[in-house]
């Protein structure tokens, strides 16, 4: 029988390594054990994948949505909400935030969705291989203009961001390295370069054009050779800065809010030991993400970091939909749901820039906080939703509840959420107005349903609820 602490720890793991889970799922996983659950999350292939044909059958527009305004992330949101492989999906989101690429320039959702597919398939594998695939991704090639990077006219956009944002971080290379790196990637382009037709664009494929590649000698990070792109990636991966950079990203995404990427060159990590452990594991395992994540989730610094980071909008939206339930069937309205993270400041498949989104408190401003509160409160207010029904059944099973008991039970079922005594007292004061929670007459049931709805709305609007 799992203890309350086992439940709280499992809820923590599922918020971080996934998008949250129902109490039923948390209890079942806690019964299996923490390390066993970590292994299951790290080996997603043992679980059935989301059946995208279900989605295509009922919402065909979600498949290769082309330029459907604002709704290109519908398929992805459907995966986040319904996946039985939550870490696989979470890692796709992780890499999308690191290798940020957007339709603001790529124009078509399809190619950016292909990147998500790549991250889903390879995101827990080898970083070096992932980086090589990334360099061949047509969306990335177009996003950072490598298709305009020619042997006789070098375009530095990809070369620079590969070093600055995808591997080492600013301050670890010179302007000459940027130039040489860019030269090594000349000739890495895609086909076909045809204008978009009325029904969309032809799919893009990577192409290496030897005649457009600068095959002469290059000096990159102190090494000399007639480097091509793969050689550059090999050298990048050997750099200690790369391991540290990935470790800091993992820490910021999975453990606790960190300073933002541009600050890393000048701001030491929150927890140097954690970064050292992660970066050592990353290098010792030959850049294996699965091995690095295993160490992360089983570490004390992870387990002790409950509610140490603010939820991203994607986590808010997918997490709330998983909590309230009823979004398993691909219903109309999925597209509008997929726009919600954007309204909170995270337009999926369309990050503000190649730096991705700023996280932590930068998710929060007066507008985005209001959107989070309003979206979440609106969904939990609906007592007909299966997830809310399940909460009500659990409350009813406790019999008549005093206002204190009512508040404590709801805080437990919505997390378990930890709040300061003053906050709990405010909620109790609020619940006091209705007396104890009763279910003995139809009128009492109706009244109690309303009270649960209101209390849950108040709980999701708490500052404490904004943390994962």
């Amino acid at each position: 029988m799992p203890t309350q602490n086992d439940i709280a720890l499992m809820a923590h793991l599922m918020r971080r390594a996934g998008f949250g889970a129902s109490r039923e799922e948390i209890e079942a996983r806690a019964a299996k054990g923490y390390e066993a659950t970590v292994e299951e999350l790290l080996n997603p292939e043992v679980q059935e994948a989301v059946d995208r044909y279900d989605l295509i059958r009922f919402q065909p527009w979600t498949w290769r949505p082309g330029t459907i305004q604002g709704m290109g992330a519908a398929e992805w949101l459907y995966f986040m909400v319904n996946t039985r492989r939550p870490l696989e999906e979470k890692m796709a989101l992780f890499w999308h935030q690191v290798f940020a690429t957007g339709v603001s320039k790529v124009d078509h959702y399809d190619e950016v969705n292909d990147m998500v597919l790549l991250f889903r398939q390879r995101g827990m594998g080898n970083y070096k291989e992932l980086l090589t695939e990334l360099a061949k991704s047509p969306a990335m090639i177009y996003w950072l203009d490598n298709c305009e990077n020619h042997a006789d006219a070098v375009n530095e956009n990809w070369g620079r961001e590969l070093l600055e944002l995808f591997s080492m971080g600013v301050g670890n290379y010179t302007e000459v390295d940027v130039r040489e790196c860019s030269r090594a990637f000349t000739g890495w382009t895609f086909v076909p370069k045809l204008p978009r037709g009325p029904l969309g664009r032809f799919d893009w494929y990577f192409q290496y054009r030897e005649e457009d590649h600068d095959d002469t000698e290059k000096t990159f990070l102190g090494q000399n050779g007639r480097f091509n792109g793969e050689d550059i990636i090999e050298i990048i991966c050997q750099q200690p800065a790369t391991a540290t950079f990935i470790a800091r990203h993992l820490y910021n995404f999975f453990v606790a809010d960190e300073a933002q990427v541009p600050a890393w060159a000048v701001t030491p990590p929150r927890d140097q030991d954690a970064i050292d452990l992660l970066s050592d594991t990353f290098r010792d395992s030959n850049f294996d993400m699965r091995a690095t994540l295993r160490v992360l989730f089983n570490s004390d610094f992870f387990k002790n970091a409950r509610f140490a980071r603010l939820k991203s909008p994607a986590e808010v939206v997918a997490g709330t939909l998983r909590l309230v339930g009823g979004y398993e069937f691909p219903s109309p309205g999925l597209g509008e749901m997929a726009r919600q993270p954007c309204y909170m400041g995270q337009d999926l498949l369309n990050p503000p820039s190649v730096e991705g989104w700023h996280t932590g408190t930068e998710w929060i401003n007066s507008g985005s906080l209001m959107r989070r509160v309003n979206f979440t409160a609106d969904l939990v207010s609906d007592v007909t939703k299966p997830g809310i029904q399940s909460i009500i059944q659990r409350l009813r099973a406790k019999g008549h509840l005093s206002p204190e008991g009512f508040v404590d039970a709801c805080l437990d079922l919505m997390g378990p959420l930890e709040v300061a005594p003053r906050i709990r007292q405010e909620l109790v004061d609020h619940a006091n107005a209705g007396g104890s929670l009763r279910w003995d007459t139809p009128q009492a049931v109706e009244n109690s349903n309303k009270r649960v709805s209101e209390l849950l709305q108040l709980i999701v609007s708490l500052r404490e609820y904004q943390y994962a």
Partner: protein, 375 residues
């Protein structure tokens, strides 16, 4: 200044992505311009000539008209030493005035605190857009961050006047500060309270607004219309912020740059026409900037990240004309292929802070800088 004791107002329009200076304010008589821009150069016949040396991009016609009425200051070669040529770092530098170390406080956040130290008005600064720009970020300084003025309010799922007032009352108690709860909780608490209060105040703006000006159906026109609505409602807002982009024209620059400037020029034109119609333009100036200019020589399709750029300051109270030196385009004068800044951006800020907002600029921009006299 023509009139009024109305408080001065600053509107900031950020051109995100690095606007190409050379193709915006074109040194058309400089023979090197043609040499450097074989692909993306603006044909001579299309250039809107301002004088014997410079002309504007063809899509800046509304800006040219305002320039000829003496309402536009063009400040040349604005930037700072050792441009990192990174969007993010450069934008951070413009936002925080910290070129040598990483800053987190925005210069307009500090300005806002100076204008309203006791936070008497939570809508002293209003930003239009989904996320708060770092320029306005300063813990404890409230900034209303609005996408759509019409639907702006907290816990709108709860209806019924009595139930609403009960729950909003509880919400504000839950968001009240507690000693020792930590900076992030403090920030969340203050943000929640401020946004609730701001929503109450801003609700009034679209209700009171009427105008004959038809704004274009573009994102930047929508933002500037929202700014006009709040300004015209006299809510005491002193700083407005919005952005448009992306100006990151590495490839296919020609059509892309045209469209961007068409939308921006029209929006600016509509905005000032709206203010003039309501006799509310005299106390407003607009600062238009980008994080950097672009490389002098084009790359065969677009232009890469550069250094110095142009700043526009627009408004009735502005002393129109050119300020500063257009940086030399001679190869031996370039740094890594880029124009070398001739005016420090903090000098431009200093003019605005001292001669418009009447504040002591040095602590806000981190030092003393020579200020171009456009006000």
């Amino acid at each position: 200044m023509t009139s009024t004791k109305k408080d001065p107002v600053l509107v900031v329009l950020q051109l995100t992505g690095g606007n190409d200076y050379l193709n915006t304010v074109i040194p058309y008589t400089d023979p090197l311009y043609r040499d450097n821009r074989p692909v993306v150069g603006v044909p001579d016949a299309r250039i809107l000539k301002l004088n014997d040396t410079i002309g504007l991009h063809p899509e800046l016609a509304p800006i040219k008209a305002m320039y000829q009425q003496g309402q536009v200051a063009i400040i040349h070669g604005v930037g700072y030493a050792n441009s990192p040529r990174s969007h993010f770092r450069s934008m951070d530098i413009w936002h925080t005035c910290e070129p040598d170390k990483l800053g987190t406080e925005g210069w307009l956040g500090r300005t806002c605190r100076e204008i309203d130290p006791n936070k008497e008005n939570v809508v002293t600064a209003v930003s239009f857009g989904p996320s708060l720009p770092r320029a306005l970020a300063l813990p404890g300084v409230p900034v209303a961050c609005v996408d759509d003025l019409q639907s702006y309010g907290m816990l709108t799922s709860i209806t019924g006047e009595e139930q609403r007032s009960r729950i909003l009352d509880r919400f504000s108690r839950l968001y009240m500060p507690t000693i020792g709860q930590g900076a992030v909780m403090d920030y969340l608490g203050q943000t929640g309270l401020d946004s609730m209060k701001g929503a109450d105040i801003l609700k009034a703006a679209p209700e009171r607004y009427s105008s004959t000006i038809e704004y274009s159906d573009t994102t930047i026109s929508k933002k500037l219309k929202g700014i006009a609505q709040v300004h015209l409602a006299n809510l005491g807002t002193r700083i407005f912020y919005c952005d448009h982009g992306s100006f990151d024209s590495h490839s296919n620059q020609v059509g892309m740059h045209d469209k961007l400037w068409k939308d921006v020029s029209n929006a600016v034109d509509e905005f000032f026409a709206d203010l003039r119609e309501h006799n509310a333009s005299d106390n407003v100036i607009m600062l238009v900037f980008s994080e950097f200019g672009r490389r002098v020589h084009d790359n065969g399709s677009g232009t890469d990240h550069g250094a110095a750029g142009a700043v526009f300051v627009i408004g009735n109270s502005v002393k129109g004309g050119e300020y500063g030196e257009y940086p030399s385009t001679r190869p031996q004068d370039l740094e890594q292929g880029d124009l070398v800044p001739s005016t420090d951006f903090r000098g431009v800020y200093t003019t605005i802070l001292e001669d418009w907002l009447r504040l002591d600029a040095a602590p806000l921009v981190g030092g003393k800088f020579e200020k171009p006299a456009f006000l």
